[in-house]
Subunit: 385 residues, 2 copies
């Protein structure tokens, strides 16, 4: 009954001012269909994650546009938007569409063009993921929001900025062999700590870059995969989604992402697994502190202990629970609407044993995709058959 | 098995510069829950239709924000965007979430704030529903797009502008007793024809107004409705969604909306009914020509005959197939992301016998919601038990 991930594809992540979102998305969707060995004619529904197309390209209505350009003009096609979790929610919608029996083949993906406006404009656009009335309007954009979360975490627990910097060092290291990653150069803890300050205590190295890119996955029913002889050993064993207040100030604890905890609980229960069963994870490290909160939300570490993950080598590719073997958002890049689908694509490659930064003997993978400061969260559990 | 529409609510449609989308949506969602007799705690998933919040309010990420403000903070909450069909797609997603057994109670709705930016800016924002590269960039915004469709229709078939004006006259008449309608004054055919030209042959009276407003519906499973003794006689008998090219120029016929035809076929088949079984319809009359194309797409009239509907009295409230008894987009107003949910709300009132402009003996209702120039279309068939 569990839907299969039959094919995946990612475009190059980076700066693509000469391209458009329809071009990038079509490349990813076409690549995923080719990877799956599925024809566009077989697609029944398309979900596209995109956050800021209205602001960066004067373009909304991505659903039918992308369906048409990928060769599936006549199908139901919808854009979903949960800020930086849009891609993960697109995958979840596709999984539900297939799991429910309503469709046999779904394409889910996402795309974001971010370099065709200036840095001030894209920072402003991203701020729309927060609470405009209580955050953006008073000047609180995302570097500041995550700096507040980091400052509170460092105050509350026995962690230092060095522990956060270790996340960047690990993720840069992981991206060295990822052909689509935006940053493929190592950094040291000292370099990361001495980076240009963006919002104290965070430096530029604590933040993910601005990225153009797209990713897509093909989700099919088990029956379709079997009937068509698809090589699709990875199945979606569980999915969970939850919400929290959009404004950080409305939450009882700043250094905690409860929506992600609930989404993880739901996904684990659905899949019949626990944190100890997970072999590899892709988590939403838009800032270093976000990865620390993520590994706690996913239950890999107790509350207040997640900062040990990268610093003590437990989340490296040969550690006890490898996290962001793709390089994560920090090194691979973060094309907002695409990120959640990119995580599922990277994990699928891991579970199929064809990842550039392969984890040995991995059968259970978890993707953790967050929107805003944690107002949206979606968690997906994958398992190789 | 068919999900029930347990409660509905609409805010006042018009100019609300002193309010915000969260306030309007919360009013609609709270109203729908109260109408249903369902607590916010019972809600399992929320779908919010919104098109241009990023441009009009510097606000995206409507899913969790609206879930929180309506009192359902912990649930999966997602914004869906299919341009002017966003609200109808939100309802469809809620119906699928309940029909699949994944959730017992879903809230679907939509909201749009359109008066807090100027008329040039909102026209520009709406143009994002078209193809930016091939339409918007060369100055083709929606009045021009629908004027092209109207001009082609009048050229191809035996229709005159008077036939289009009859749609406005009917819909203005229908709105006279609708307490939430934006325009509650009658117009004559002569007045409509003499209106200010906006894009030849269309005058201002051929177009719907710019509207602030919200609408929401509560969708529950049959079991939930029965167990909780809800007074919910209306069920969703069928739903269909399809797509077309985003650019008008890429279609073989300009005066035809094929995505709507496909969505209607799918919804009718799902419901086991045909056009002849329909007692009342709410259709997407963003411009007069759009209602003419809609009644053809829904199979109420043959191709090239839809213009007779309003002009010959067949689509009036006491005609053979009453269309837009609420006043439609032209008189009730068109808060873009809310419109599809508003249609379902109005139809539910008709099928429950509590509409201000009641059609006698109506048991089957159809909602037809279109995005852009027809690139997205969603059709919903309702039936009273």
């Amino acid at each position: 009954m569990a839907p299969r991930i039959a094919g995946v594809s990612l475009t190059d992540f980076g700066k693509h001012p000469e391209r458009s979102s329809r071009e990038l998305f079509t490349e990813a969707a076409g690549g995923a269909l080719a990877d799956a060995g599925v024809q566009a004619d077989d697609v029944g529904v398309v979900y596209v994650g995109n956050f800021a197309g209205d602001l960066t390209e004067d373009q909304g209505h991505f659903g039918p546009m992308m369906a048409d350009y990928m060769g599936a003009r006549d199908v139901a096609a919808t854009r979903v938007e949960n800020a930086c979790a849009s891609g993960g929610v697109a995958v979840r919608q596709a999984v539900e569409a297939v799991a429910s029996g309503m469709h046999e083949v779904a394409v889910a993906g996402g795309v974001e063009m971010m370099h065709n406006v200036g840095i001030a404009d894209i920072t402003d656009a991203l701020a729309n993921a927060g609470d405009n009335e209580y955050e953006n309007e008073v000047g609180l954009t995302f570097p500041g929001i995550y700096a507040l979360m980091a400052r509170r975490y460092l105050h509350e627990f026995d962690a230092e900025h060095e522990h956060l910097a270790a996340v960047t060092v690990k993720n840069r290291e992981n991206a060295l062999d990822n052909p689509i990653a935006q940053f493929r150069e190592p950094v040291t803890v000292a370099e990361a700590l001495e980076g240009r300050p963006i919002a104290s205590p965070l430096t530029l190295y604590d933040a993910c870059p601005i990225t153009d890119g797209a990713a897509a996955v093909v989700v099919t029913s088990e029956e379709f995969a079997d009937e068509h002889g698809l090589d699709a050993p990875v199945r979606v064993a569980g999915t969970g989604q939850s919400s929290d207040t959009i404004a950080l100030q409305d939450r009882p604890e700043l250094a905690r992402t409860r929506a992600a905890e609930r989404a993880a609980d739901e996904a684990y229960e659905y899949a019949g697994v626990g944190p100890g069963d997970v072999d590899v994870a892709e988590v939403h490290d838009c800032f270093t502190i976000a990865e620390v909160l993520a590994v706690e939300s996913l239950g890999f570490f107790e509350r207040g202990e997640g900062y040990r993950g990268a610093a003590e080598g437990e989340t490296t590719v040969d550690g006890s629970i490898p996290v962001n073997t793709s390089g994560g958002l920090i090194a691979k890049g973060h094309p907002v609407g695409a990120t959640g689908a990119a995580q599922v694509a990277e994990l699928t490659k891991q579970l199929e044993g064809r990842h550039a930064n392969q984890v040995a003997d991995s059968t259970v993978g978890v993707a953790h995709n967050v929107g805003g400061s944690g107002a949206s969260a979606v968690v997906t559990v994958l398992r190789s058959a």
